[in-house]
Symmetry: C2
Subunit: 347 residues, 2 copies
């Protein structure tokens, strides 16, 4: 077994603290990499606190993981020592169901293995995430990361990036479309970058007027303050797509009214309470309310390659691991521009 | 003005009763027809009772109207005296917005004129529906009805028919698809007929085991009792589409779990309270919750022609106008197979 340092939460009430644990040995198809950076996702906080239920403790969070390969198994073909590598939200899946066969491992019908707070396909071994110095992952779930980009700023692409890239590709958002991005946080700022790169006219919808300058700097064409009734009215029936990154409760009926006929409202955030949706909000204008979850392995690699080609990375603020609680407090207040990334050398 | 007999409700608290009123004179582009049959739609009941708000009294309900043309204006080209004709939920729209231009008059951006409980495009004249002996409609909003079909059984096609036909065409439901029809009432039984005609494998989901024989007779391939947990479990992750015709409150999360990855849940009923939808119900499996509203004029004519070609009509129970309240009582109890149609000769 591989002795490993990490930051873990021991139960739903304790805080993250240093923890020594062991990783599995590098098997024939495994890649071990030295974790250099790990992004801090809002879902880390939800899972630490067991907001969604079913959390497994002790828990080492983190699923926006990048680093350098330090060991490869004898059968590994895709990686060699010294390569930059990344792992996102999945470290395994059944590989046999129709979704896995199609590269939609995020929808594995037998349940994918989450990078942390998950269970391996042996149905008993817990998984530990990226707030750690090293990780061992089957090569099929390790992604190539370009050396052309700032490695730390690549980390958030593994979750925030693919979560916004995938639905835009699936619903073919691009030229000629008016896209609203609801919420300018970790996901939202990536959605703006992709929306602009794909050729859409991008409007940021935000409760915070202070974010307008940033939105424009990120490439957005317009900015609308959502609690200004007049501003909202000016975009009624305006958008082909809304990409909704908000994980706090919010009134979807209001946003559905901003869609054109046949418009699509895409949810990628997970509020703690159900949405309340009036049938008339969908029926009037034949609108769609849809969900999307991260992306499969082939699409995640495609996204990383696209980002390398187009120079797209996340806007980040680097933190010391010991400041993780302060980072969470700031995330809750929305005080992050736009993703915290832990420098794992500080562990 | 044309003296007209009808059945009207005078305010939200009174019952339907005989009422004499006047229709507009037949203008150059108008068609007047003798109403022979009018279907009874669940929405008649909602609007009489002002369940959705904004009802206009006195109200003559009815938007599944068929009869024979008795007068045409000097410029009318599409109809001649003696033709069978029908009118559905719309009698006018702005005709100039992008949706009207595309034949999506049901999504008229300036507001279509509902056949009853609506306001003409002059923004002041109320409209009166089909519980009446005659009606005058602009020829663009009058539909040709085949003389090959039972005229009384055609009436419900004008609302129940197009409401189910349109989303099936829009989402291209057909061969190779597993379609669930939720609720076997006026809309549901038409959805089964169209689903089967389009080549889908059709399963009826119903709370009422008594409806199984009818479902199979209508052409459904399978029947699942929705309050039998075991039966429901057997169809988890099973359907490409659910066509949801239920207008009573129901748990969408349960039904979303019956969809395959990328499945689509289509709402055509309007429950009085909002749906409660967990984000995870959509995100897990990239599912869509969508709405659809009747159909535009070109598609409604296409549907009527399709029905004439394929011998599709509604299953009806003919009633005398004086029994309309009894019919409503039975509709509320779900005791209708599958659409009441008023013989307007009884007026």
């Amino acid at each position: 077994m591989i002795p490993t340092k990490g930051y873990a939460v021991q139960d739903a009430k304790t805080d993250l603290a240093p923890w020594n644990f062991e990783r599995r040995e590098v098997g024939p198809n495994d890649v071990q990499f030295d974790i250099q950076f790990c992004g801090v996702c809002h879902s880390d906080l939800h899972q630490i606190k067991d907001d969604w239920g079913g959390s497994i403790y002790p828990m080492v969070p983190g699923h926006e993981i990048v680093g350098k390969v330090i060991k490869v198994g004898s059968h590994v073909k895709k990686f060699k020592i010294g390569d930059f590598a990344g792992t996102g939200c999945l470290v395994d899946s059944c590989r046999t169901c129709e979704n896995c066969q199609e590269g939609l491992e995020q929808f594995c019908l037998n349940g994918f293995t989450a990078t942390y707070n998950g269970i391996e396909q042996d149905k008993k071994t817990p998984t530990y995430g990226g707030y750690s110095n090293t990780i061992v992952v089957h090569e099929d779930f390790v992604l190539h990361v370009s050396d052309k980009l700032d490695l730390a700023a690549v980390a958030p692409l593994l979750c925030a990036g693919i979560t916004t890239y995938s639905p835009m590709k699936h619903w073919k958002i691009g030229k000629g479309h008016k896209l609203a991005v609801l919420g300018l946080g970790g996901l939202g700022h990536m959605a703006v970058k992709f929306g602009v790169a794909f050729g859409a006219e991008v409007t940021v919808l935000s409760t915070s007027p202070k974010k307008e300058a940033d939105a424009i700097k990120l490439g957005a064409h317009k900015f609308v303050v959502t609690n200004d009734a007049e501003q909202l009215k000016s975009v009624a029936g305006n958008f082909n797509f809304i990409l909704d990154t908000v994980s706090a409760p919010h009134d979807l009926n209001l946003y559905l009214s901003l869609l054109k006929t046949d418009g699509v409202h895409i949810c990628v955030g997970v509020p703690p309470t159900p949405y309340e949706v009036h049938a008339f909000s969908l029926i009037g204008g034949r609108k769609s309310l849809v969900g999307s979850l991260i992306g499969g392995l082939p699409e995640t690699q495609e996204m990383l390659d696209y980002c390398a080609e187009h120079g797209i990375v996340s806007e980040i603020e680097m933190i010391h691991i010991k400041n993780i609680h302060n980072a969470y407090d700031r995330m809750i207040k929305g005080d992050v521009r736009y993703r915290f990334v832990i420098d794992m050398a500080t562990l």
